[in-house]
């Protein structure tokens, strides 16, 4: 076949025109999201003008991510662009079609529980167990009470949207547009044994910005469970949730954080967990991603003092065309700290798991003991794994180990189980379950751990 002279040039013009229309599209799209966010913020009536204005300015400096951005190389948000998402409205009824995971939590008696639907506090289905020195409530409610208002103002100024990384586009967008803030505030020396659950549900095909602020004062201790679930979207529509959870751990504070994402199948879930750890504090995060069409979890830990202890555990179990992306950043800038991270991914069908785990150990962070492990299990030849451990170590007297593996189920392991009378199918299920359970076992709330293990048993079969 012969081509007329100059056709290549014409083609390239056509391509660049398409690209530029796409790029205009992205700019417009981000503006559209920001307009929706600002409208939601206005309606919320929260007196946070400075915080919002700064966030709006930050979003204005950002562009909508493309695969050309290193941080979004493997996670393509283009599918979002064709959906003109509107901000979520308050739910009409204060109940929702609950998933197994959130139903498990709401059925428990001895938990503090804040339920939000489409980002709005659902008072009638929330419950609180009275406890001294513990404030667990949406900001909208707290601000109505004079005794809280005075105490809260300095905290909001110093803590809300103040953890490093607030300028990241979706974090800033969330700050510009959250409709409420779930506040968990534990006073000094209070040990809260009762798990504090923040149950996030979604009903509409819309965009919601979910926000949580956790403050653990000196030597306080708490267990936090966040769940993200939603009823199925209407046909041909999608839903988008951005979520930002900021956690401030003061000296000697301990937070055991569990995060379960089991969103419905057309949801884009873009989340940030940002942690600030002071001297001697201990933070553990167990993040489980089972749902959503596309989910992204930025998990960022910063130090503001030495001798911290950090444990990050993660599991994604994906199938069909699901994508889950875990981007973690562990910044160690003080000496004598310990950190462990284990991220496991299981991908079936055409699913895609992304792990980018950065550990930064500065010159000051001598005697750090850190380890990072990413293990991936591929169940299908069309599944995809992208893994990128990034260790950036400046200090010279530290122990830092890391590893990443990608494998299929081991034939020898299957044979071992078969040789004990277990069929090949059952053996594979048991191995999958075992692979996942190493992370699920870190969930310290027993009924939730059981619900997850049941869920994974079904997943594996």
């Amino acid at each position: 076949m012969t081509k007329p002279a100059g056709s290549d040039a014409l083609d390239s013009i056509a391509v660049s025109a398409a690209e530029s229309s796409r790029s205009i599209n992205r700019e417009t799209y981000l503006k559209h999201l920001l307009t929706q966010a600002a409208a939601a913020a206005d309606e919320s009536g929260l007196p946070l003008k400075d915080v919002r204005d700064l966030a709006i300015a930050l979003v204005g400096d950002c562009t909508f991510p493309t695969n050309r951005d290193e941080a979004w190389r493997f996670t393509d948000l283009s599918d979002l662009l064709s959906h003109s998402l509107q901000r979520a409205e308050p739910p009409t009824a204060q109940s929702s079609s609950q998933s197994d995971i959130s139903a498990t939590l709401t059925s428990l008696d001895d938990v503090h529980q804040l339920v939000s639907i489409n980002g709005y506090y659902a008072r009638s289905i929330s419950k609180k167990v009275p406890a001294p020195g513990v404030t667990i409530a949406p900001l909208s409610q707290l601000l109505q009470k004079a005794e809280y208002k005075a105490q809260l103002e300095p905290i909001l100024t110093e803590r809300l949207a103040r953890v490093k990384g607030a300028e990241e586009v979706f974090t800033a967008l969330n700050t510009a547009g959250f409709t409420d803030v779930m506040v968990v505030w534990v006073k000094a020396d209070q040990i809260v044994d009762t798990p504090i659950c923040i149950v996030r549900e979604a009903e509409e095909s819309s965009i919601s910005h979910l926000r949580t602020l956790v403050i653990a004062e000196r030597h306080a201790s708490l267990t936090l469970v966040e769940t993200f679930t939603g009823s199925p979207e209407a046909a041909d529509t999608i839903r988008c949730n951005t979520s930002v959870t900021e956690l401030w751990l003061a000296e000697g504070a301990q937070v055991n954080h569990m995060r379960i994402q089991d969103e419905s199948e057309h949801t884009f879930h873009i989340a940030k967990t940002a942690v600030d750890q002071a001297t001697n504090s201990r933070y553990q995060c167990t993040a489980i991603d089972l749902g959503a069409h596309l989910s992204r979890h930025h998990l960022e830990v910063f130090q503001s003092g030495p001798q911290t202890d950090t444990h990050l555990y993660g599991l994604s179990a994906l199938r069909d065309c699901q994508l889950a992306d875990t981007h973690s950043l562990l910044t160690l800038t003080y000496p004598h700290s310990g950190a462990t991270q284990i991220q496991k991914n299981i991908v079936d069908d055409k699913a895609h798991a992304v792990f980018n785990g950065r550990v930064f150990v500065s010159q000051e962070a001598q005697h750090t003991d850190a380890s990072q492990l990413n293990r991936n299990l591929m169940l299908s030849s069309k599944a995809r794994i992208d893994t990128k451990p990034e260790l950036d170590i400046v200090a010279d007297d530290v122990k830092c180990a890391h590893g990443a593996t990608v494998s299929q189920l081991q034939a020898d392991e299957v044979f071992y189980l078969q040789s004990r009378g277990i069929s090949s199918e059952q053996a594979q299920r048991l191995l999958l379950y075992g692979f996942a359970m190493e992370i699920v076992e870190k969930i310290s709330v027993a009924p939730l751990r059981q619900a997850l293990s049941d869920r994974l048993t079904v997943w594996a079969s």
Partner: protein, 264 residues
Amino acid sequence: MINENAKTILSVRNLHASVEGTEILKGVDFEVKSGEVHAIMGLNGSGKSTFSKVLAGHPDYAVTQGEVIFKGENLLELEPHERANSGVFLAFQYPLEIPGVSNRDFLRVAYNAHRKANGEEEVDVFDFDDLVEERSEIVKMDVSFLDRSVNEGFSGGEKKRNEILQMALLEPTLAILDETDSGLDIDALKIVSSGVNQLSTPSNATVLITHYQRLLNYIVPDYVHVMAKGRIVKTGGKELAQKLEEKGYDWLTAEDTVAEEAMV
């Protein structure tokens, strides 16, 4: 224990097997009757371990010729789990670690798979707990091991004891112990051997695959076979093991070569 009238459990005729196109077994003939204890000895690479894996149905090995009849059934037609459920048990030389699956759950799933395959009702968690704790005594295994992941972080001796515990639960007709003595200190060897001896009955049989005569002081075989180059080249009583320990294998291979030449 040799009993002329005992039933034949396993009958292997002219078994050839290869892995990735390389023939490892070159015509094994082997017969086991109930109540008997057999030892198969031989140098590294003689085909001992391959033989055990072929019997258990390891997918890497292809049987190219010959037959294996187990309790009157063609064993080679069965899937590995079907072989296990019909009474073949292989204690692995290197038991695998299965992180995340508790030993207790693993043992219960295996035990119930056997019961189901044999038309018996599955046992519930509580009944199983009583059973497994009782059987743990056979290998003096602390019950805390039941709640750890299968073999994960177990010492060499603990892994082997765990293999014998599985055998104690599954009560096989034919137990094949592949180098169960390797890597064991003398105390662990005594515990493992005593476990195997306790499980030995007139209606089942044991095949020990080993390098060393040492094990045979604790589990006394009725027959000792020597494997070389993929065949069983010599069969004798327990005194053969003693002779191998003293003289090594060279005299046998020489004899074998002479025999082969004579056949030509």
